[in-house]
């Protein structure tokens, strides 16, 4: 073998072969490589392998494995400009609606509550967040602030979506909310106890907040902070210097609570002293003759007996309310029956709404006669006010739908498709519609579950409205044809929602339509969520693989450059 032949036998390196097939070698070197690969099997095999790799790469990249996403299909500058006024209009309408709602109802209600002795705080804080865990919020929250925050969160998510991951944006917003919720409130030391039979002994002093859970709980000692308690049977006979927040089967407050009592209980007995307000929801509520409530009493109960002393006003809703005690302020009562006994003393005006007139003893000491208003069970279709409100509600639904469709276009599109599987969506809707709130309420029995339960309930409540929006889109598609593009789908949703809202104002039938649509929609949403939670199966390749044309100038071997 000559020297030249030996040299020829030295294998080419991969870089050289790659540059050769990419036509990046000069002519002389290219000819050398070409000649070498004619004679050397190993280098020819390498050349073929690299060529095949190039083809595989090109094919893999050019294959149209996924369609253009709908939001990109829509995206054109002209469309974007034309949408700006729609957004402006919708937000303007929503702002008007919120303002009207606030001035029409919230402000009046707030004033009434202030008159009823709940002054110094706000409505949302009063009703929900005034408990021990929400102190950080109570001075800052109003319903409008909540709406503003939710809107900002939504806009923030849309803004950040362009910069960070969609999931990350939502996580960021959610984490922000959680951080605010979890913010400590000054006296933040906390003691946690969980026992089946838990007793805080008489001489025991808890120098912080106490979170307690158990089947039978007795608080005979002193809690210097707040008491958050969940259990089957709870008795507070000691002294709580802060607030009490409880959820339980039975709750008896025999001792002293310097702050407020917020409770959800099957049976509630207040026999001791509560320095501030009492807000309770339960089956039977009994404010005993010995009870002293320094502030106001707000109750939602099946049967309620008020025999003790209430320093300020009462607001009571329930089946039957019996007053035999002393109420310093006014009374606003909406219940099936109201009995005011001869021993009762009420220092302020009494408003009573019911189907039945109140039974008032002539011996009762009342500052003014009971103002009785018989309940109206039908909407007043003859007033303009009613129709204005229907328009506001329809606008609110459309806004809600617009935001959700814009934030989650793919999910919404899938939910609309899922809603058209009528049987599955309706069946699942009934199951989830009834099952989730029951499960959430059960979860609320425990301290940890309380947060999960409340969060689930909030989600479920929101999903009811989202469900109606989805069904609006389905109705719109029935009328205007199917579409998979975002803005046409939003247009159909708008038309469908208007029709749906019109149907809901039909006497007798309306409520069925309303809840039927919400449950059907929630079923569709649940179907999509269920599908998304399933493990992904890799899509199979088509039977006849797509063979795209090679782009011009893609060189896979072939002749050398000229």
């Amino acid at each position: 073998m000559s020297e030249g032949q030996k040299e020829n036998r030295k294998h080419l390196d991969e870089m050289t072969v790659l540059l050769y097939i990419e036509r990046q070698l000069d002519r002389a070197r290219g000819l050398e490589v070409s000649a070498h690969t004619q004679e050397c099997d190993a280098c020819r095999t390498l050349l073929r392998a690299l060529e095949r790799e190039s083809r595989l790469l090109t094919r893999a990249m050019l294959e149209e494995d996924e369609p253009l996403p709908s939001r990109l299909a829509q995206f054109q500058e002209r469309a974007r400009k034309s949408m700006q006024w729609i957004w402006g209009m919708v937000f303007g309408l929503a702002a008007t609606g919120v303002y009207a709602f606030y001035t029409e109802y919230i402000e009046l209600w707030q004033q009434q509550l202030e008159q009823a002795g709940f002054g110094g705080t706000n409505l949302l804080g009063l009703l929900i967040y005034q408990g021990t865990m929400w102190k950080g919020w109570q001075s800052m929250m109003t319903l409008l602030e909540v709406l503003a925050m939710v809107t900002l969160a939504g806009l923030g998510a849309m803004f950040f979506r362009r910069r960070i991951r969609r999931g990350s944006a939502l996580a960021l917003v959610f984490a922000g909310f959680c951080t605010v919720l979890a913010m400590p409130t000054g006296t933040s030391a906390t003691e946690m106890r969980h026992e089946e039979r838990l007793t805080i002994a008489k001489d025991e002093v808890i120098h912080s907040d106490l979170y307690a859970a158990g089947g039978r709980i007795r608080v005979e000692g002193t809690v210097e902070g707040d008491l958050v308690v969940a259990g089957g049977d709870i008795e507070i006979s000691g002294h709580v210097l802060g607030d009490v927040l409880s959820t339980s089967g039975n709750l008896r407050v025999i001792g002293k609570v310097d702050g407020s009592v917020r409770s959800y209980a099957g049976n509630l007995l207040v026999k001791g002293t509560v320095g501030r307000n009492v807000m309770i929801a339960g089956g039977d509520v009994n404010i005993d003759r010995d009870a002293k409530i320094g502030g106001s009493l707000t109750s939602f109960a099946g049967h309620e007996s008020i025999d003790g002393h209430v320093g300020r006003d009462i607001l009571a809703m329930g089946g039957q309310v019996t007053i035999t005690g002393d109420i310093q302020g006014s009374a606003k009562i909406r219940s099936g029956e109201l009995i005011i006994d001869s021993t009762a003393r009420i220092g302020g005006p009494i408003d009573f709404k019911s189907d039945n007139p109140p039974q008032v003893s002539p011996e009762a000491k009342l500052a003014s006669p009971v103002h009785y208003e018989k309940l109206k069970h039908r909407d007043d279709y003859r007033t303009v006010h009613y129709y204005i409100w229907q328009v506001i509600w329809a606008a609110a639904y459309i806004l809600f739908g617009l935001v959700l469709f814009a934030l989650m276009p793919k999910f919404s599109e899938d939910a609309v498709k899922a809603a058209e599987r009528y049987g599955a969506a309706a069946g699942l809707g009934v199951l989830v519609g009834f099952g989730v709130p029951i499960a959430a309420c059960i979860a609320c029995v425990t301290v940890v579950g309380l947060f999960v339960g409340l969060a689930t309930l909030s989600l479920w409540y929101g999903a009811l409205y989202y469900g109606a929006v989805i069904i609006g889109a389905v109705i719109g598609q029935w009328l205007m044809g199917r579409t998979s593009e975002l803005w046409p789908l939003i247009g159909r949703m708008t038309v469908g929602l208007v029709i749906l809202r019109l149907c809901t104002i039909i006497p007798h039938v309306g409520p069925w339509v309303k809840y039927g649509a919400a449950f059907w929609g929630i079923g569709a949403i649940s179907l999509v969520v269920y599908r998304r939670l399933q493990p992904m199966i890799a899509p199979s390749m088509p039977a006849t693989p797509y063979s795209p044309p090679m782009p011009p100038n893609t060189t896979v071997g072939g002749p050398l450059p000229a």
Partner: protein, 194 residues
């Protein structure tokens, strides 16, 4: 260089440059799918690709006046797209591959040709796309620029900010990474099947 099946839209470009919204829409409709696929291959997340496609076309509207009509529109479009995607990757600091200095020292290995041939023969396009997802930013960008949009070595060097002489090395290194990823996928699949 054109996106597959697309003619040079000379007239539409001229009208779009004059501010004709309809012509702009036509350009978008014709090129958006190809650019989205380019971004989809170049960027790790689908949402990134969607955002990048929109941003590229927004950018394009301002840059259209700079376009030299004697050159290929698609090539220019891909160049803009490549620069945008590479900027995005750089901004997010997800370039995990080595810098230019290291590239000079990359060993020029001679793989076993028959083994390589076998590895390539057994792979599907789907597997290659999955393996691409595992590559570092530069390797991925280089392969996409070369084998999707058929950019020249000069254009790749310009977009990646490396010397032209190293483009081959970048591509070779990217192929090596891809093979490793493909082998990893195969090992995983075998593990999953057992």
């Amino acid at each position: 260089m054109n996106a597959p099946g697309i003619k040079e839209p000379t007239e539409a470009i001229a009208r779009a440059r004059a501010g004709d919204a309809e012509a702009w829409g036509q350009l978008y409709r014709e090129h958006a799918p190809a650019i989205f696929r380019f971004c989809r291959r170049a960027l790790p997340m689908r949402e990134d690709a969607e955002d990048a496609t929109m941003e590229i076309f927004m950018k394009l509207k301002d840059k259209l006046v700079q376009y030299d009509t004697t050159r290929s529109f698609s090539a220019w479009l891909y160049k803009v797209a490549a620069n945008h995607c590479w900027d995005m990757l750089r901004r997010r600091k997800i370039r995990q591959d080595k810098e230019t200095g290291d590239l000079e020292n990359v060993p020029l290995e001679h793989p076993d040709p028959s083994q390589l041939d076998q590895l390539i023969e057994q792979r599907t396009s789907e597997e290659v796309r999955k393996a691409l997802d595992k590559l570092g930013g530069r390797a991925r960008m280089a392969l996409v620029m070369r084998y999707y949009s058929d950019m020249s070595y000069d254009e790749i060097a310009d977009a990646l900010g490396v010397r032209r002489a190293f483009v081959g090395v970048v591509l070779l290194r990217a192929r090596h990474e891809l093979r490793q990823a493909l082998e990893g996928n195969a090992a995983l699949a075998a593990g999953g099947a057992s």
